[in-house]
């Protein structure tokens, strides 16, 4: 009986000690993450890889400005200063994030003086945990040729474009597939009204500042007899404020529907040109 009493006293006293310890604060608070999962970030560094839109969207209340240039063919040699004398096709654009998933934008390109109105929506974001394996986004745009003196009705100046962007980032490498469709109300001679393409985009981050990227845009089905599938390669430089993309591209055009319709140059035959894009994001208010 005494032994039982002794044993019970030990247990009870131990329990008291445990209770006292349990209500003593630890020297450090346990560290807790605010968010244990979230979207995979920086799948691409800009909203455009080179000429084709990426799943990357503009954040809410942010404004992205972009300036894009493509020059003449490099093989023009020193006589054309490797294409820089041949005149640039310049596109200036602004995109605004309505929400973290939806942005609207406008741009204007030198060739055909095309004004482009567009919207991009992220349907899915790839998550770090892998619960969502890919990014999925959709883009639609309306192109309006504002060339004067060509006798076109307003509706003949219009072109429409829609693409679905499916992307996945693994470590440093990102890959995106972009099935797309374009419709021209009044295509140039030899071009069909409708064009289908499949953009293949990739990016590889060498470090936080430099990345290599490439894109290939085969046109599928009916197309202009002289059109060629576009190919481009780029070096991306992230300065922390800007993203610079220095590239060599077969197409001098910028908007996807015009790249599909009008590219006549073949990269592997040496028909490529130098170009560069500059992207800069501004904050228009903190949430």
């Amino acid at each position: 009986m005494k032994q039982l009493h002794f044993l019970s006293s030990i247990i009870i006293n131990s329990l008291i000690v445990v209770l006292l310890i349990s209500v003593t604060t630890n020297a450090q608070l346990p560290r807790e993450r605010a968010q244990t999962d979230g979207p995979v970030e920086n799948t691409f560094w800009a909203t455009t890889n080179i000429g084709i839109s990426t799943v990357q969207n503009v954040d809410k209340h942010n404004l992205e400005s972009s300036v894009m240039h493509t020059f003449g063919l490099v093989r023009g040699g020193i006589d054309t200063f490797y294409g820089l004398d041949d005149g640039a096709n310049t596109k200036i654009g602004l995109d605004y994030g309505i929400s973290n998933k939806f942005s609207v934008g406008i741009s204007r390109m030198t060739f055909n003086k095309v004004v482009d109105l567009r919207g991009k929506y992220n349907i899915l974001r790839q998550t770090k945990s892998g619960s969502v394996p890919v990014d999925l986004a959709i883009k639609s745009s309306l192109g309006i040729s504002t060339l004067s003196g060509v006798g076109l009705e307003f509706k003949e100046r219009l072109s429409y474009f829609t693409s679905v962007m499916i992307a996945r980032k693994s470590d440093r490498m990102s890959l995106q597939l972009t099935p797309m469709i374009a419709h021209f109300n009044a295509p140039v001679a030899g071009n069909p009204h409708q064009l289908f393409g499949l953009g293949v985009l990739t990016s590889y981050a060498l470090n936080n500042r430099l990345a290599l990227s490439a894109e290939y845009l085969p046109v599928i089905g009916q197309r202009h007899a002289f059109s060629k599938d576009a190919l481009a390669v780029a070096l991306n430089i992230n300065t922390g404020g800007h993203v610079f993309q220095l590239f060599l591209a077969s197409s001098q055009w910028h908007n996807e529907q015009y790249i599909m319709a009008n590219n006549r140059d073949k990269f592997w035959k040496g028909e490529f040109r130098f170009g560069f894009n500059i992207h800069r994001v501004f904050g228009l208010g903190v949430d």
Binding site: L29, P30, D59, V281, F282, V286
Partner: protein, 197 residues
């Protein structure tokens, strides 16, 4: 006898559970919604980032000060800049900036605005340095208002300021924190941490 001991234990437990939260011996000061701001400069302009998820605790009884922030809660107003900042700070591997230390001169809970100095270890990017930080503690209706400011050098913590050539974020970062620490019983804090964990 066993029943008596168990009863004693149960009563003791009730006593501990019902301890008045403002009993100084049983009270720590705690917040999980403190404000933290950093100000950074690049050539020709400066920018700041902030978070309202600074978590911290002061235990006057044990002279312990402990604060941490999940760095991915810092927002500068530009999403791309935030993502670049997280990469620069290496938040995937080291998500927290944290300070653990004590008051240089241990003192009781202040009853008026009082200048205090804390010494301890500040850790960011997995690198820990001894720091001394000055601030103010001021009692208010809710608890204790803590305000502090200090500077840190990114290079001290193996963080390379982002930029290119001459256009680069300055090495010096100005940090400011402000939070109201509410009196919390140790038990409550332990329970809250266990629930949150």
């Amino acid at each position: 006898m066993i029943i008596n001991n168990l009863l004693f234990c149960f009563l003791l437990f009730l006593q501990l559970a019902a301890t008045d939260p403002i009993d100084p011996a049983d009270t720590v000061y705690y917040s999980d919604s403190g404000f933290v701001e950093f100000t950074s400069s690049v050539p020709m302009h400066s920018f700041s980032g902030e978070s309202e998820q600074l978590t911290g605790m002061i235990d006057f009884e044990e002279n312990i000060i402990d604060f941490y922030i999940d760095l991915t809660t810092l927002k500068t107003g530009i999403g791309k800049r935030d993502r670049d900042m997280y990469q620069t700070l290496n938040t995937e591997e080291h998500p927290f900036a944290e300070f653990t230390g004590s008051f240089k001169s241990p003192s009781p809970i202040p009853d008026q605005r009082t200048k205090v100095t804390a010494i301890g270890e500040f850790t960011i990017n997995g690198v820990t340095k001894e720091v001394e930080v000055q601030g103010f503690l001021e009692p208010n209706e809710e608890g204790l208002l803590l305000e502090a400011k200090w500077s840190l050098l990114l290079s001290d913590y193996d963080i390379k300021p982002p930029g290119i050539l001459f256009y680069r974020v300055d090495d010096t970062q100005e940090i400011r924190i402000e939070l109201v620490l509410k009196p919390t019983s140790r038990q409550e804090l332990t329970a809250e941490n266990e629930t949150g964990a």
